[in-house]
Amino acid sequence: MRTVEDAVGAVLSGAISAITQRSIFNRLGGLARTPVGQLGPVERQTVLKELESSLRLFARASSAELLAACERALSENSGPGAGTGAGTSAAGPASKAIHKVFAVDQEKDIATARLEAWSEAVRIGLSKFTAVKVATAVSELARNIVFYAGKGTVELRATEDERGPSLQIVATDIGPGIEPRKLEEIWAGTYKSQRGMGKGLLAVKKLVTDFHLDTGPGKGTTVTCVFRGDR
């Protein structure tokens, strides 16, 4: 049986350290070990209330999203068979294939996208170091969207093949695009931006396994990159 601890733990892993999770579960007492299926409406509320105050203390960003995810996890009927996932196709055994899209149009979205990317990377089994790289790359790309295009999206797509898990990041905007001359400067490392270092794209390119950039004046910018876990 899937207990509250299992369900919530799956959501929190990556976002919150194991030790912190333990102290959260300790606060829940016996409720943590109750199977999700046997949770009454009142008990569910109690759990969520506790989680809300804990998450506010421990999570650095997007506590609201985490809480919402916990709520979803707790309203599922027990057992992994009852997988929900709006929009995701019937996942079958390879339930690691996920696809998430985040709208990015203000600075706080950068933190959200970053945290999501990090927890996703940890969840699919990339190393802690790689997860930090993933989060950093997403941070750079999301920042570029907010700074230069105003709004856009960041997509995370996790896949797994015989070579191991990998996470694809696609950052898309329909902003002004990058002029060829500026692009040359960017790749040469000589570009200086007003607001940042002007090294974001170059930095991402150095971090990832695969990198593809599609841009041009008037057609917006799409960056596609892949992090591959090594086995």
Partner: protein, 135 residues
């Protein structure tokens, strides 16, 4: 959720933001800031301004920024840290970044961005020790 109060700023937000979420603590003649929150443009500028003011008023010898709670440092945050380091140096004090996490350090190296306008130390203790030696 209440969380937004730390980041979003009201009409008089400029000083409040730096007072509230980024307290500057004085230890002898060093100023210490523990960065626990998301640094963005305004917050960074506020911090820079507040630090320079405090360096002057307190005759501070050094400024120590503790980033041990920061899980991701990208090129933009690096720029902010370098800028603070430069401005502190212009005032005649030294800036130390302490507590950079191993994964963050690795990532910065791979990205090829430099933290060259600040000193680094493993922890607060060591930074204080080095600043003490400067006297």
């Amino acid at each position: 959720m209440k969380r937004s109060t730390a980041v979003s700023m009201g009409s008089d937000g400029r000083t409040r933001a730096s007072d509230q979420s980024l307290a500057i603590i004085q230890i002898r003649n060093c100023l210490l800031v523990s960065i626990q929150t998301e640094l963005h443009d305004r917050l960074a500028l506020d911090l820079q301004e507040a630090l320079m003011e405090r360096v002057r008023n307190a005759d501070a010898r050094g400024v120590i920024l503790d980033v041990s709670a920061v899980e991701v440092i990208d090129s933009y945050i690096t720029r902010i840290l370098n800028d603070i380091g430069k401005s502190v140096r212009f005032m005649g004090a030294e800036c130390y970044i302490v507590g950079i996490r191993p994964a963050v350090a690795m990532t910065l190296i791979e990205m090829g961005v430099e933290l060259d306008s600040v000193h680094t130390a493993l922890n607060l203790d060591l930074a204080l020790e080095r600043l003490e030696l400067l006297q």
